[in-house]
């Protein structure tokens, strides 16, 4: 398997994660009063925390694969996103194993900060002229796109979907009786 295989695999996971996040978000907002919405949320609840941990861990391992194996050099914004995602991966795994209650107040703020950085980084890739100086830095500039799939999936976009999923999955409403 080559790098392109992993790029496509992670990109598809990212899109699927975003789709799932949107579905859960719709179920708990627009369809919160419907039986289907309630059933979906109740059925998904056992998966919310382990899936958050799996998503954060996959994001962490994926970023390490691309930087250490494929040699895509992380820029300043990449490191800032790593500063949010890596602790989340470790914490979510521990919280899942220990079944720690009410972890949303810990993980959601971190994921929210990470998602803002990811969003800015993704926009910088889309609109480099508005946000940079017209010169490529001798080091890796943050508007540099290592790869792009489906026209919009890049490394910051994948991180963004991960952060958003963590936020939504860890802010589910209380269980119904």
């Amino acid at each position: 398997m080559n790098n392109e295989t992993f790029e496509l695999f992670f990109a598809m996971l990212s899109v699927a994660t975003l789709a799932g996040t949107i579905v859960i978000l719709m179920a708990r907002t627009v369809f919160r009063s419907s039986n289907a919405g309630v059933a979906l949320i109740d059925g998904f609840r056992p998966f919310a925390r382990p899936l958050s941990a799996a998503i954060a861990t996959t994001c962490m391992l994926g970023s390490l694969y691309f930087s250490e194996i494929v040699n895509y050099k992380p820029c300043r914004l990449c490191w800032m996103q790593r500063g949010a995602m890596y602790p989340l991966a470790i914490m979510l795994v521990i919280f899942t194993v220990l079944k720690t209650p009410r972890i949303g107040r810990i993980v959601v703020p971190i994921a929210a900060i990470g998602s803002c950085i990811s969003m800015y980084h993704w926009l910088l890739e889309r609109f480099p002229d508005n946000l940079d100086s017209g010169v490529c830095s001798k080091d890796v500039p943050c508007e540099f796109v290592w790869f792009e799939l489906f026209g919009f999936v890049t490394l910051p976009f994948m991180a963004l979907t991960g952060f958003l999923a963590i936020i939504v999955f860890n802010t589910l409403p209380s269980p119904t009786e």
Binding site: M1, N2, E4, T5, F6, L8, F9, M12, L13, A16, G20, A39, L40, D42, G43, F44, P46, F47, L51, V70, N71, Y72, K73, P128, S133, G134, V135, C136, S137, K138, P141, E143, F144, V145, W146, F147
Partner: protein, 211 residues
Amino acid sequence: MANNSRGRNTQATWIIGAVIGVVIAVAAIVAISSTGGKETTSDLQQFGTIEVVGDPLPQFTSEEGDTAVGMMAPVVNGTGFSGNAISTSHGTPMLIVFLAHWCPHCQREVPLLVEWEKSGAVPAGIDVIAIATGTDPANPNYPPSDWLAREQFPALWPVMTDSKSFEAAEAYGLQGYPYFVLVGADGKVAKRMSGEIPMDQLTQEIQAVLG
């Protein structure tokens, strides 16, 4: 009724679990089957051996108050993609253009340079040498030889390949790409510029050097 509700929730849980598993499996299958080995190979040399004669220039910070102006430019001896010898030896006014294959600004600047040359707007009496630097096989748009060939980079402008440690770029004080160094016939630095430069501005700068 409570048992029915719990039963439905268990059913929903299994369904959701199955959906997640199927999505991951499908993503893996599609990714593996859709991509094959696509190696980019080139028989041309993307890195060269560089010899620097003279003192390196200070690092470029800005055109305003550039301390390198008036200094003797180092002479860089190297090779091109085909191993042909190329040198920035003194004697004629020279424009040295440093380009990185992965840099979006270089990718936009090269077509302007090509059009500038084709239109005949390049002032007479100046030699243009490009140096392919910052080369990295892990970065997009590699190899630079293919990129410049696609862009129909002028054959009259030699392209030197920098070393893996970017010695030519270091010798001229490069801090960003694209990077331009104007050297007078006396071998002294006349101007250094960085970023996307409009061709009319480049022409004016060269004409100022040529006098």
